[in-house]
Symmetry: C2
Subunit: 177 residues, 2 copies
DNA sequence: CTTTGATCGTCAAAGGTTTGACTATCTCGC
DNA sequence: GCGAGATAGTCAAACCTTTGACGATCAAAG
């Protein structure tokens, strides 16, 4: 039990170190839940950073801009509020991002005949090209990450993540409801 | 095989829908890697949103501010660059956040005797109180999420996440290197 | 029809984050 | 010692995102 120099920790050894210290100071802490939260958050951050820095920024897209193009590509023309819900961001964020995407000729905004408040967002031909090109590279990175796991490990991991996503805690979170 | 109205999709059914459409249009896509990326990103976003909106914002902390306090709490007084590395953000972000934390009396900045460029960050008494109070509530939320899984499922999930975190793809990502 | 409440997209304000530049400082080889 | 290159922290600029407010519009009850 020596005092380790905390400065020399890298992120992974920090997790072990943090769990040990927390358990000593806050005994009510659940160390397994703590490790789960830390590891999940860290991994997701690394993934997004990888996608954004290697795939999207070099193509002139922000991470948010790509997400809007992505849902428009796959879920067809959408009203703005539906694009926001599927992309997991606020209506205001979609409004701001679409301003740039429209200026760059990737998305069109048209009025919805049946509801004059609503705006229908659709990909242009250039937008379709941009998002399919970007997603091919994006999925190549996803494959590079997933390749560290065996197929059955991949299946198990997806199952556990989906179980958390549909859990009562997730329902209570109600992100951007 | 009817044309489903894409507008009515919620996020979970969107994932299935998206994978089906992508497979048809971009046959080189790996649908398992795609589902993994989508699910992991979505879950992490929901987690952070839950933590920030239910625990940290009500206590007057931003998510970034909490992360700085958290690493200072557990890894002791730290030079700014080490705090940045452990918290997974840039040195500039730490510099900006510490400005607020210092103003609020939660963190002190002192010169390092051996290196006049460096700054040593340490929690004040109030900072220690704030971070332990916040982390107790934070871990309670982590426990609420983890409770959806059995103990062995939790162990398996952590193992798979750590395997990805230490994978070659993660090493190549080199976040904020 | 009218009124009341809800919803849509947008805007402004506030804050967080990254990148790149800059100064000050350190380190290492000569 | 000293000079070249690396490093620490900060700043400015740019961008993204959220919240709360707003006007316009819709929908439902009477």
């Amino acid at each position: 039990m020596t005092d380790r120099p905390a400065e020399d920790l890298d992120y992974l050894s920090f997790v072990d170190y943090a769990i040990g210290k927390t358990k000593a100071e806050l005994p009510d802490t659940d160390p397994v839940a703590m490790r789960l939260g830390l590891t999940l958050h860290r991994l997701a951050g690394a993934l997004v950073y990888d996608w954004e820095s290697t795939v999207h920024r070099p193509r002139g897209l922000s991470w948010g801009g790509f997400r809007v193009l992505f849902v428009l590509w796959l879920a067809g023309p959408l009203e703005s509020r539906h694009a926001a819900r599927l992309a997991g961001m606020s209506r205001a964020a979609v409004s701001a991002l679409v301003k740039t995407l429209e200026r760059d000729g990737l998305v069109t905004r048209t009025q919805v005949p049946s509801d004059r408040r609503a705006v229908r967002l659709a990909l242009t031909e250039a937008g379709h090209t941009a998002v399919t090109d970007a997603y091919q590279a994006h999925n190549a990175r996803e494959q590079a990450w997933a390749a560290s796991l065996t197929p059955s490990e991949q299946t198990v991991l997806i199952g556990l993540l989906e179980k958390l996503t549909t859990s009562p805690a997730a329902a209570a979170a109600q992100r951007l409801a």
